[in-house]
């Protein structure tokens, strides 16, 4: 599997689309996590605050002490969507370009190739998560220094937990995209349906959950709900709280969310493996 992993890493590192997606993720994280809140704080908010929200809170969220929840706030939805695209591209494009047949005539077994791909995708996701945390840390330090506030960094344990949670969430979404790419043998359908699910369907189900009891139970098992709950358990504000972010919810506890997300990762890998093993590669 190491040969497959090294091959997949070479492909991902040299792929311009991956760098563009990484840049988009970093820029969006800065713009919505730091730039817009800080500008709003400096301009007094323009009277557009949510109930209970204050300028002091806007500033506090951008300071080093809130690095973990402020960074993770965007992971369940928009960063998750980008991770889904990364996974769908990495798996689906092999069918579109016909490169799967070229790979499989080299040597690797199908599951070994899949293992290498999954390792490479999740390594890339880990690098992205660390990158987002690093750039956010710089922003929070700059804001704290500019505003003369203390730079109280989160503990190493807290930071490690935040990076781990981010990796689990984005890793799950990337594997979700990879499974769709493998099932549909294409990128466009996988990305389209994946985004519709992650950005629209799950939100609609959550929206109707309060009306129907069975939908409430169902939504607690959804990947997005569990991703949002894990983030909320680490301090990110839920959508109904001041400064809350879409996708962040407190539907289930943090430990339960971790278990469900890991179960999703395992299930996605098993389904992708069975699908790939049974497919005729044309």
């Amino acid at each position: 599997m190491s040969g497959s992993y090294r091959a997949e890493m070479l492909k991902l590192v040299r792929w311009p689309a991956m760098w563009i997606l990484a840049a988009v993720l970093l820029v969006l994280a800065q713009v919505f996590g730091y730039l817009i809140p800080y500008i709003a704080y400096r301009s007094g908010g323009g009277g557009g605050f949510a109930a209970g929200e204050t300028t002091a809170q806007l500033l506090a969220d951008t300071l080093p002490g809130r690095l973990v929840p402020n960074t993770l706030g965007g992971f369940p939805m928009f960063a998750g969507a980008i991770a889904l695209i990364i996974g769908a591209l990495a798996a689906g494009s092999e069918y579109g370009w016909g490169t799967l047949k070229t790979i499989l005539t080299q040597r690797p077994r199908r599951l070994s190739m899949l293992g290498g791909k999954v390792l490479a995708i999740t390594s890339t996701i880990l690098a992205l998560v660390i990158g987002v945390f690093a750039v956010n840390a710089v922003w929070s330090w700059v804001i704290a220094t500019t505003e003369g506030r203390p730079t109280d960094w989160p503990s190493v344990l807290e930071l490690g937990r935040g990076i781990g949670a981010g990796w689990l969430i984005l890793g799950m979404w990337s594997l979700f995209g990879a499974l769709l790419g493998t099932l549909f043998r294409s990128t466009s359908l996988a990305i389209g349906l994946g985004l519709v699910w992650a950005l629209a369907v799950e939100n609609l189900i959550r929206g109707f959950a309060s009306l129907l009891g069975f939908l409430d139970a169902f939504q607690k098992g959804l990947p997005g709900t569990n991703a949002g709950s894990l983030v909320a358990s680490l301090g990110a504000a839920t959508l109904d709280q001041p400064g809350g972010t879409p996708g962040v919810t407190a539907a289930v506890s943090g430990p339960q969310a971790v278990v469900v997300l890991i179960a999703y990762v395992v299930a996605l890998l098993v389904i992708a493996g069975i699908t790939l093993q049974r497919q005729d590669v044309n």
Partner: protein
């Protein structure tokens, strides 16, 4: 002479592939390819050639039948490491250079990457190895596909329509390359619908039609004995003389000429016999059947049988 199993690089028994419920792409195919030969796998478009190759490589699962490639099941890493293959269009990552594409493939095969430049050199792509695959011409793409197949210095090379999309010069280059690759114990399985190509480079040929092997043998065996065309006057006297020379039943009159069922090597003897008989001989020409004639005859007969 019976060949031992060890001498068969590829062996299929009743290999069958059915897509859906009714599309029988390959039907009980029995194929034996011997070590060291260049085997031409001929058939019209849609005959089942590419599906067969995909099954040999483990890309497509057979519906029934058995296959051994280098003594192992299709797709087994132990045999794949000794097989170089190019199936249909060469497929590579468009954003990577030719060299990086081969590096990726070397990594997948767990091979050292120092063989990449040597493979590029064999196919005359060393100078363009740093350019992105998407900028390559069709001929360069085909050659990169061959380079990828050569990375493993394979014992068995499977090439599917390697001259597809090439101009005449590119086709000639590719044929020359295939001849160069046929060295030592290496076996080449060349699938094509271009008969001239197969005739020029292959030791043995198998003809597939509607998923079934309908003929197999050396090119000469398939072409059979040729004939001789004679234009002489008067025609009736010429026919009598020819029958005296060859025997009755081996001479036919066709469009004002005689067609003699005779080895082309007999042309001097026939010419001499006709001239000595006092005939005005204006033309004596050997007529060799091409592989195309044989192919059209075989596949045409198969079509007719199918429609009957």
């Amino acid at each position: 002479m019976a060949m031992s199993v060890a001498e068969h690089v590829i062996e299929t028994r009743d290999l069958t592939k059915v897509y859906g419920k009714h599309v029988r792409a390959v039907d009980r195919l029995n194929l034996l390819v011997r070590r060291g030969e260049v085997y031409g796998f001929l058939g019209p478009n849609g005959a089942g050639k590419t599906t067969t190759l995909r099954m040999l490589l483990g890309l497509v699962h057979a519906t029934s039948g058995t296959t051994l490639v280098l003594g192992r099941a299709p797709g087994d890493p132990q045999s794949l490491i000794r097989v170089g293959a190019m199936v249909e269009e060469p497929a590579f990552y468009p954003y990577l250079s030719g060299r990086d594409n081969l590096r990726v493939m070397a990594r997948f095969a767990s091979l050292p990457e120092d063989g990449v430049d040597a493979a590029l050199d064999v196919v005359d792509l060393l100078g363009r190895g740093g350019d992105r695959f998407k900028t390559y011409s069709q001929g360069m793409r085909q050659r990169l596909g061959v380079a990828a197949a050569l990375l493993k210095d394979p014992d068995l090379l499977i090439l599917d329509e390697p001259t597809n999309g090439l101009d005449p010069a590119g086709m000639a280059d590719m044929r020359a390359l295939i001849r160069r690759l046929d060295s030592g114990d290496r076996t080449v399985l060349l699938s094509s619908h271009l008969l001239g190509e197969v005739q020029q480079v292959c030791d043995r040929v198998g003809v597939i039609s509607r998923g079934t092997l309908i003929a197999e043998g050396t090119v000469d065996e398939l072409r059979g004995r040729g004939s001789v065309l004679v234009r002489a006057e008067p025609l009736a006297a010429a026919r009598e003389s020819a029958e005296r020379l060859l025997g009755t039943g081996r001479v036919e009159v066709l469009d004002g000429t005689l067609r003699l069922d005779s080895d082309p090597a007999d042309v001097p003897k026939i010419t001499q016999g006709l001239v000595l008989a006092g005939l005005a001989v204006s033309e004596v020409r050997p007529m060799e059947r091409t592989l195309e004639d044989v192919f059209l005859e075989l596949t045409g007969k198969e079509d007719a049988d199918h429609e009957r």
